[in-house]
């Protein structure tokens, strides 16, 4: 009898909370199977259907904006925080799909699996942002990671790509092990896998199993820091970013990173919030090491994807500054930064994906010499993204850094803010070098940038986004503040 009644609660379990995720999964399956029905010349339908799916999910998210539903007995939560990240992740994926229209066909990876796995990865990322339960978070992370392992090895006949996939897979699986162990200890300490249970246990004032909680925190942090590519777990980043298809690299540095940060904020900002002060000490060290190593190593790179890989490590460091600061201001700046970073990084990778030299991708820095003479618009866009990545006004990158550092100062981490600003100064050198090469150097022969409407549309969105966040930052700041307030 007891069992029979417990099954009757199915109707009111908040199916709505899973609607955006389900839409993406549905379209991922559609794209996967649609591939078999399309003749070889019609493969452009695949990215189109993917875009429709992303749009459908975005419409759902927008429609549900402001609602608060916790679905499936505390598994996932629909609130403004998850909605914000859902939209960010969907937008990032849409930009990648747009630039893939051309890139994937040229590089010979225009297959159903490519777009399908992109959508699956996004569904996993969305789960991570909306999970309020460790098991859901872990499943989301694995869906994201498994898709990315495969996507980074999608050039099966290129050694660098296969190397990237193997490295990413082996190290990623190892990190997942740490994370899973952390989750097990979390469960042991809280008696439940839900974030809320941990928070309630820690703030109840009873004698919490402190040792177990800290062991869980340490292991969770190792796993998450690996996925972020933060020092000392950053070794895989340059090789994987270099070897993976350029569109996938852009996806990894934006979508997967944003999802991990979203989960980070939810886990350490809500579930483990009572021990935040102690965690900040660890995060402080990680932030300083990550920023400094990323920026210093980026200086000496000659391959633009490797340079952007180290730059993405550095940006993870800035975001760790925001996590150290914690609190509403700190977490709001994480959201702002993630959005600004999405526009400028996807823009930069979009430009890289377009360019070609001698039948190969133009990845060498020297390829950018004198780009402005023949492709003024492309170099203008690239220059804007570089300026934004360096954190120079009037771009989104400037205000992203501004909010992060002011949150750090507000939380009493003046030293961290100073180190961050010094790091930004270092980063100006290697970002501006690209601008210098494009505008001040002789033109390199044989650089082509084929006309692709979709890719240029993606670049236009990135340019507008970067500028809009730099010119009207207060509107975006209000949006992120209201999104963050949903989880406190």
């Amino acid at each position: 009898m007891g069992a029979a009644t417990s099954f009757s609660g199915v109707s009111d379990m908040g199916l709505l909370a899973a609607a955006p995720f389900s839409a993406v999964v549905f379209f991922a399956i559609v794209v996967l199977l649609l591939d078999f029905l399309l003749p070889p010349g019609r493969k452009w339908v695949l990215p189109l259907v993917s875009l429709v799916g992303l749009l459908a999910s975005s419409v759902l998210v927008t429609f549900l904006w402001g609602r608060e539903v916790v679905g499936f007995s505390g598994a996932i939560s629909l609130d403004r925080f998850s909605s914000f990240f859902d939209l960010l992740l969907l937008l990032g994926t849409a930009l990648v799909v747009l630039s893939s229209f051309f890139y994937a066909r040229r590089e010979g990876i225009e297959r159903g699996e490519y777009y399908s796995l992109l959508l699956f990865a996004t569904s996993g990322a969305m789960l991570m942002a909306s999970a309020v339960d460790m098991v859901v978070f872990f499943l989301g992370l694995e869906i994201l990671s498994v898709s990315l392992y495969v996507l980074s090895g999608f050039f099966r006949d290129r050694t660098v790509s296969v190397e990237a996939a193997v490295k990413y897979f082996v190290l990623g699986a190892f990190a997942s092990g740490f994370l899973l162990y952390g989750i097990a200890l979390f469960y042991g300490a809280a008696g439940s896998t839900q974030y809320g249970a941990m928070q309630a246990m820690l703030s109840s004032g009873g004698d919490a199993p402190t040792l177990l909680v800290y062991a869980a925190c340490a292991l969770l942090m190792v796993g998450l820091c690996f996925k972020l590519g933060s020092v000392p777990f950053h070794m895989w980043v340059p090789d994987v970013y270099q070897g993976a298809p350029t569109s996938v690299t852009g996806y990894m540095s934006v979508v997967s990173k944003a999802a991990v940060f979203a989960a980070f904020v939810r886990i350490f900002g809500t579930g483990l919030a009572p021990v935040q002060i102690e965690l900040s000490k660890v995060l402080w060290v990680l932030a300083v090491a990550t920023m400094t190593l990323g920026n210093l190593a980026a200086i000496s790179q000659t391959n633009i994807k490797r340079m952007l890989a180290y730059s993405s490590i550095a940006h993870a460091g800035y975001l760790l500054v925001a996590l150290t600061a914690a609190g509403r201001a700190g977490y709001s700046s994480v959201l702002f930064y993630a959005l600004a970073y999405a526009f400028m990084t996807l823009g930069a990778f979009g430009v890289i994906a377009l360019l070609r030299r001698e039948e190969q991708e133009a990845l060498d820095l020297t390829s950018y010499s004198g780009l402005s003479t023949r492709h003024p618009l492309l170099s203008g866009a690239m220059a804007l993204f570089m300026i934004s990545l360096a954190g120079i006004p009037p771009t989104g990158g400037f205000f992203a850094k501004f909010y992060v550092f002011s949150a750090a100062v507000g939380a009493g981490y003046v030293d961290l803010a100073v180190i961050g600003v010094l790091n930004s100064l270092v980063s100006v050198y290697f970002y501006m070098r690209i601008v210098y090469l494009m505008y001040m150097k002789e033109e390199t022969v044989g650089i082509e940038a084929p006309p692709s409407l979709a890719a240029r549309a993606a670049l236009l969105i990135c340019v507008l986004g970067t500028l809009a966040m730099g010119v009207f930052p207060s509107g975006f700041a209000r949006l992120v503040a209201s999104s963050v307030s949903a989880i406190f």
């Binding site: 069992a3 029979a4 099954f7 199915v10 999964v25 399956i29 996967l32 199977l33 078999f36």
Partner: protein
């Protein structure tokens, strides 16, 4: 609680015991007249060719991988079957969705030709 497992223990002991006894007795009682032919590895009665360690085609890996995944799927069916009586229609929908999603994977590998052994 562990006492419940005594029959399983007995069963394990019996099976290993019988297997060991067969080997032991054939070793002790059987007459041995070894020759080169007899000592060579048995390969379905055909004359053995080369080392057993050769690279096998990737098809085997794919089959093993697919088997593994559907094995995990099947593992979820045990608890479902046991509590099905309590869930009835709801349970049917829950498992139906699960199966439907994995069915997409099945259609994918089928269409992809993983089951075509000759190409």
């Amino acid at each position: 609680m562990l006492l419940e497992y005594i029959p399983i223990l007995v069963w394990i002991c019996l099976t290993t015991g019988v297997a060991a006894a067969i080997l032991l007795f054939s070793h002790l009682i059987g007459r041995k007249r070894p020759s080169d032919e007899k000592l060579s590895p048995y390969e379905c009665g055909i004359v053995p060719t080369g080392d057993a360690r050769t690279r096998i085609p990737i098809k085997f890996y794919m089959v093993a991988m697919v088997f593994l995944i559907f094995d995990i799927e099947a593992a979820f069916l045990y608890p479902w079957a046991v509590v099905y009586r309590n869930m009835l229609f709801v349970g049917l929908i829950e498992m139906g969705l699960f199966m439907l999603i994995l069915l997409a994977g099945f259609v994918y590998i089928w269409k992809k030709g993983v089951f075509d052994w000759e190409d």
